[in-house]
């Protein structure tokens, strides 16, 4: 078996809050092969961004392992990590606050190179790389001296993309890169991400709450609920045979412009959302689950029920 490009083992990230420990990410085990896209979907606040940030060590991890090409990067020193960032990058959720408003596009896009190589690159080399990536990302060269506030949302997101891509990483965490954009620009950016993946053999972890987008771009999909992974499968399989009650609810709630889908049966989870602070053991979805049984409040584990199809639900024991 080949080693996945990125893997997490029992990854936990807890936050200390006034009310107690908040389990933002709990026991996540995922594998992302080279050249593939893992889509991560789930409710807002379920820990998607935190997971992405933890994998890139942009936030301290509570426990567990993050393996890149088989090596646990959580033990890396600051210096080693700096070199790791040549391979791993992130595109942030909010194209508005992620860019320093005082920097020109040229400086914003060349910054990651300067951070990595210092001044060892000569000006012409630098120019070449910046202009090449701007072109790839659909940013006219004439924008090099513009500031982020002079751009619309779509172009700002392209700058975020260019910054992540300029050092030619192997793995990029895309945190809702298109949710702030309108549909036409979203289509352009998604096409661009897929083109770059093809050309450069990239792997993505693609975070979104838009299931149509995730179906379009992913190979595998992981569904999260309140810090936990509840289901993981190849995308066709997941959309055809969703198993976890939360996944089923998600899929039935996808709004569609197809008027004939208007009267479909929608399954809406009811009841109180439990708190991720000092959570009770067991499945987090249990308080809202129509099929809840005693077992659900005790143990929780993601199990392979079909080849490559993992679900954490006692209905499938």
């Amino acid at each position: 078996m080949t080693i996945p490009l990125v893997e997490t083992v029992g990854l936990n990230k807890f936050f200390k809050t006034p009310g107690g420990m908040l389990h933002a990410v709990e026991n996540i085990n995922l594998k992302i092969p080279a050249r593939k896209t893992l889509g991560v979907v789930g409710e807002s606040g379920c820990g998607k961004s935190t997971l992405g940030r933890a994998i890139l060590r942009l936030t301290p991890v509570t426990s567990g392992e993050v393996l890149f090409e088989g090596k646990n990067i959580l033990h890396y020193s600051r210096d080693d990590m700096k070199h790791m960032y040549r391979n791993m990058q992130m595109i942030f959720q909010d194209p508005y606050s992620a860019l320093d408003p005082r920097m020109t596009l040229y400086n914003l896009i060349s910054e990651p190179i300067r951070e990595l190589y210092g001044d060892s690159l000569c000006q012409t080399e630098m120019d070449e790389r910046v202009h090449l990536i701007m072109e790839l990302c659909g940013l006219p060269r004439s924008y090099a001296n513009s500031y982020p506030h002079e751009l619309d949302g779509g172009r700002r997101q392209r700058v975020g993309l260019a910054r992540a891509m300029v050092i030619e990483p192997k793995f990029v965490v895309c945190d809702e890169p298109v949710s702030a954009l309108d549909v036409s620009v979203q289509a352009q950016i998604l096409n661009l991400l897929m083109d770059l993946q093809e050309q450069r053999g990239l792997s993505y972890m693609f975070i979104t709450h838009d299931l149509c987008v995730v179906r379009h771009i992913s190979d595998d999909i992981m569904v999260m609920y309140m810090g936990q992974a509840v289901e993981c499968a190849r995308k066709e399989e997941l959309f055809r045979h969703p198993l976890h009650p939360y996944t089923k609810a998600l899929l039935s709630a996808i709004p569609s412009t197809n008027l004939s889908r208007r009267n479909r049966i929608r399954y809406m989870p009811k009841g109180e959302v439990s708190s991720p602070i000092n959570p009770a053991p067991g499945c987090r979805f249990a308080p809202r689950c129509p099929y809840v049984s005693k077992k659900c409040k005790a143990e929780y584990q993601l199990k392979e029920v079909d080849t490559g199809h993992y679900v954490a639900c006692h209905m499938y024991d």
């Binding site: 096409n191 299931l211 998600l250 709004p255 959302v273 708190s275």
Partner: protein, 333 residues
């Protein structure tokens, strides 16, 4: 009030006609709304869709008279609300309107949240303003109830905005807008950061407001699926103008649409398609500093004709479904 007695669904609550709004900045004049027409009936849910920069937020800010001071200006048009022209009212009148009769959910939740006040207290402040007669105990109950309704455990109400994720902040802002039980809710991209089950739940809550208080909702969104499932009517905005308007059943039947609407419908990934790449609308949004003499969409339109660049299209109407496009004029002649 007399008008409350003969409440009926057809009654128009908000009537915007021929509204022109511009932003005068140091560099340029931006024509944000250019003859914007929109009617919102009592108790109806209207979806407002269109690209970034189309003028959707400007429309909402104009209604609330919250356009940025000195920069934003209404240059022509009328905004009737329950019969009163809002552009003629005093600031005191507007203060009584905002947050009570009309609530707005702003696009960026952080503009409505105070970073140094616990979220529960911020929701409480709305009640203090809206229902000063209520007892402390009752207000607390209401805050807890609305928080659980938007899926935030009430136990977290002592926390500050930075301790919540983006989508959770959005839900807190929604709670603040709904707790006032307004007549008209202007919701600017209220569910963009939410997953579909939470979104469905929030839209349900808005529907319940409608049932209980006959609240009208203007839902600004770029999610056409949400409009198709949640709204009664839809208005499509391009370059500061409503270019198509009709019942959801009419517009999404895809029999006759403005070419821009067709473009929007084509570029979203759907659940059945297996296409490897999406089809964006060609070209860029029209330059808002220059007004075109013809149709603003002409440059991007696959059906563009000679007349489109010269003359503004007239309204083509059928059973309350109307489209601003020369294409249909031609066909009818």
């Amino acid at each position: 009030m007399a008008q409350d007695i003969k409440l009926n669904l057809e009654e128009i609550l908000l009537d915007i006609s021929d509204l022109h709004v511009q932003y005068n900045t140091d560099d340029a004049t931006i024509f944000a709304l250019n003859g914007f027409n929109l009617q919102v009936r009592r108790g109806e849910k209207l979806g407002l869709v269109g690209e970034t920069g189309a003028g959707k937020t400007t429309m909402a800010l104009s209604v609330l008279r919250l356009l940025p001071d000195k920069i934003g200006k209404v240059t022509a048009g009328r905004i009737l609300y329950g019969g009163d022209d809002l552009l003629e009212q005093t600031e005191a009148y507007m203060l009584g309107l905002r947050g009570r009769r009309i609530s707005m959910i702003f696009q960026d939740p952080m503009t409505s949240l105070n970073p140094i006040v616990a979220v529960g207290d911020q929701i409480m402040e709305v009640l203090d303003l809206h229902a000063p007669y209520m007892s402390r105990y009752e207000k607390n109950e209401r805050v807890d109830r609305i928080l659980s309704m938007v899926g935030i455990p009430p136990a977290r109400k002592m926390e500050f905005p930075y301790q919540f994720s983006g989508g959770m902040k959005q839900r807190i802002v929604i709670a603040m807008a709904l707790i006032a039980e307004p007549e008209l809710l202007l919701a600017d991209e209220p569910t963009t950061a939410l997953d579909v089950t939470m979104q469905a739940q929030i839209l349900d809550m808005m529907s319940r407001l409608k049932q209980e208080f006959n609240t009208s909702v203007v839902l600004i969104t770029h999610d056409l699926g949400v409009v198709a499932e949640f709204c009664d009517r839809v208005a499509v905005v391009y370059a500061g103008k409503v270019v198509e308007q009709g019942a959801v059943e009419q517009v999404f039947a895809r029999v006759r649409n403005h070419p821009y609407t067709v473009g929007l419908l084509n570029c979203i990934p759907d659940l059945e398609s297996t296409a490897a790449r999406l089809i964006p609308i060609p070209g860029q949004m029209a330059d808002p500093t220059r007004l075109s003499p013809g149709c603003a969409f002409a440059d991007r339109c696959v059906h563009c004709m000679d007349i489109c660049r010269r003359k503004p299209p007239k309204m083509y109407e059928q059973d309350g479904h109307w489209i601003l496009c020369h294409l249909f004029k031609e066909r009818e002649d």
